[in-house]
Symmetry: C2
Subunit: 159 residues, 2 copies
Amino acid sequence: MGDTPSQSPEPVVLTVCTTCRQTGSDPEAMRPGRILADRLAGSALPEGVTVRGVECLSACSRSCTLHLSGGPARWSYIYGDLDPDAHLEDILAGAAAYAATEDGFVPWRERPVVFRKQSIARIPPVSMPSVALTPTPAPERRDTANDTPDTPATELTQD
Amino acid sequence: MGDTPSQSPEPVVLTVCTTCRQTGSDPEAMRPGRILADRLAGSALPEGVTVRGVECLSACSRSCTLHLSGGPARWSYIYGDLDPDAHLEDILAGAAAYAATEDGFVPWRERPVVFRKQSIARIPPVSMPSVALTPTPAPERRDTANDTPDTPATELTQD
């Protein structure tokens, strides 16, 4: 937020699933994610934030859902169990806080409750390095005779 | 996979949560995600695929979990309920099929069962356009007097 931005931040996108619906709800009714996406699109969005409606985030049991992202340098998040009546303002506030960061990481206490409590998953920035791993062969492999990768050691016959 | 690739594909990353554990499991035991990440790192990874271990994908109830991604032009996926003993080979096969695509979309029948059945969420490529939305004001707004966006119509007084 300084006068000499060291990098131009990537746009922030609220990707909303417009097709999922809660179990037992009227299949003919407008989907809550569509309502949420339409209302976000009709809101005064924070600077740098856009809304995208997509068909199926494949998190159907947690309807309605959205994905908050802002380029490879930022954390991204998936939120679920959203209610277009209850959560619109909090989503906008959370997106504004997120868009004001370079890495997408908003301190826990500064996130709206819906973002604290209803996270389905979060994904680190692409640049985040791996923890130190210890490469380990899988014990169930039966390639004791040799290491030729072409040998289908686990191939099963149909009977 | 042709002789004249139109674009250089981005690297594919299997990001594995190394910290989550299943409810009731021994908290001192090595976490299944760490075992999975170590075994993936010890496997013959498909071309263009790397493994990254991270601390917490915030999908703790679906341990162990991984995120499959390959740059902004590809779909990305989050999978859960993974078992390092049962699913290693399928994860490698699924990552290979994914890495062979430009957009990350592998036909359903060509995905390993674990990728078909244990998806937590999927995220479309950044370039995927929005479905047509109908910008709609939220009904709970009390801006009936006028439409001036500068008017804080929903401002509440504290009492």
